[in-house]
């Protein structure tokens, strides 16, 4: 089994085995990541293909910094490709649900972490994917991929204030979804 360094080296040399190994090892994780950005399996597949093609094309720019650096490098390409895809589809321009319609988030609109831990990862990813494009994107970037509001503002062409408020609404929506899902699960269990 090849390690990351060998995979990177092989891809730089155009080794087909290394290229296939790069795909096999990380495609499922990247698919999940892209799915939570684009919110659709078919779109995610297209973006995943673009991600890998970009990765193979720009493999010479990859620098090994230790174990995990190749995966991090692929994640970064995936996020950028996803954002470009959303931008190309003009899905970042409008928020599906106006912020005003959501009202201020109540203090109790949080999901208990203990209950979140009991949820399946794919279920949570689907909940995130169901968020409106704008909210979902800001939530993904800020909460899951570690971007700052300033970076998000630059990436999406919005103000930091908008980014911050969209994040708050995204959290409210996601918390409600989780609570709703847990409530339904409880009812099924009770029955």
């Amino acid at each position: 089994m090849m390690n990351e360094l060998e995979i990177g080296l092989g891809c730089k040399r155009g080794n087909p085995n290394a290229q296939r190994e790069l795909f096999d090892r990380y495609s499922a994780h990247l698919m999940a990541l892209i799915y939570r950005y684009v919110g659709d399996d078919d779109d995610a597949k297209d973006v995943l293909q673009d991600t890998y093609i970009k990765a193979y094309d720009s493999i010479d720019s990859f620098a090994w910094h230790g174990e995990g650096s190749l995966k991090a490098w692929l994640v970064r390409i995936s996020v950028n490709t996803s954002l470009n895809y959303l931008r190309s589809k003009k899905r970042l321009k409008a928020t599906s649900v106006p912020v005003e319609m959501l009202g201020d988030p109540p203090d109790d609109d949080e999901a208990p972490s203990s209950e979140v831990n009991n949820l399946d990862a794919s279920t949570i990813m689907e909940m995130i994917a169901e968020l409106p494009d704008g909210y979902r994107t800001v939530f993904n970037l800020y909460c899951l991929d570690g971007y700052s509001h300033q970076q998000i503002a630059e990436q999406l062409g919005i103000s930091e204030k908008t980014s911050s408020s969209q994040l708050a609404r995204a959290k409210v929506l996601l918390a409600r979804k989780i609570k709703k899902f847990i409530g339904e699960q409880d009812k099924i269990t009770t029955l």
Partner: protein, 463 residues
Amino acid sequence: MSNNIDNNNWIEAIKQKADQATREVPEGTWEAIAKSLPKQPKLVKHYSSQPKRNYFSSRMWKAVAAAAAVAIVATTGFFIIQDDNNIPESGPITQTPRPTQVIKSVPVDSASTDSTHVSPQIPVPQATLAQNKTTTSSLPKPAVSHSTPSVSKNHSIANQEQNIKPEEEYLNNDFEDEMAEFDPEEYFYDIETMQALEELYAEYEDAMNQEAMDPWKSYSDSSYHQHLTYDANARRVTREKLSRYSNKKKKPTLLMAAYGNGLISSDHDATVNSSSNPMLAPAAGGNNSAMMMAPAAPGMSNTVAPPINYKYHHHMPLTAGLTFNKRIVGNLYGNLGVNFTSMTSDVTPDNGAPEFKQKIMLVGLPFGVKWNFWRYRGLSTFIGAEGLMERVVSAKFNDESVTIKRLQWSIHATAGLQYNFSKHVGIYLAPKLSHYITTMPLNTIRNEHPLNFNLQLGISIDY
């Protein structure tokens, strides 16, 4: 507050789930990707497990390498061009100082003892005129002067050293080697003068033989003894030269031979064009382009101006340069560079003439190795050894340009402290011990102190 903590916790829980999340990849995804990949494996120049250097440093290194290559080629080319120059080298002349002058000769009556009526055409350097037969050993060596201005100047510089060596030393000098290298197309000798000189030698030998055969007839106070100091070796050289050039068809344009080796201590009338030779300048320091040797009274042959001595005050040499260090292995670096050195001296003639300056400019190629044996953060210490090849690009003794072709070689040992501002650039302070192997015909601080100690402060560029 508790809500916030809880809020952060559930977000963190989601993040952990997201990091672990996978999703099934639709079939055909890899095939679609594989179609867009190039069929042939790429040729990769290198792959390093180290973080890749940024683009700027890579470009900068190429630029530095190109600049170094240009500097090396340009400097080497300069040396080659200089080597192609036909101007004779001044080096050997330096070691055999001799005056340069063009002499108008007068017919010689070899039998005459009248100093106002002398023959043959004999070039008489001033230094020779300054001597009598009792001081033969201090007379200057034989010299060959010619019409090439730069050489004439070289000779004049040679004279300033005042190293009029004993005759015995002359016998062992490199004059014969120098003669062997003469190009007859370039130097024209006054054949008649040499013939006359040869005749004079022959007469002297005959006279000495006669004296040996007839001890009662003394020639010891004859004109020969008064005006000649016999030197068999000099005669041999003259004879060889005469045979070598006697068939020369070209019309002699200048009188070129000057034998001041003590062959002739003459009080003949002679007009000496001292050219630009400061040695031949009148004591008063006036017009030194020509001087007339007044006929000397018998026994007063050394009444001409004495040689001029010079006092030197050497200023601190200034060197500016650029050296590039390239890591060979580990902490061992090879270095190559280019530098420029300026040496200035104040020269004071002892004849009362005004002080003037001697300026020498050199361009050099330093090369060597450096070993960084200790390093802490940006600070490092090193020792190194270096060779330096220099070429004199400009040398002026007062207003006279001097051509010095000989490469100047030196070796250096150094130990120093360096602080790096960045990965490749640092400032260093290094004591340096230098030994200058090659000496210059001009009197410089290097000639006086071939081994010296100095302190260097500079900027180092390491790759």
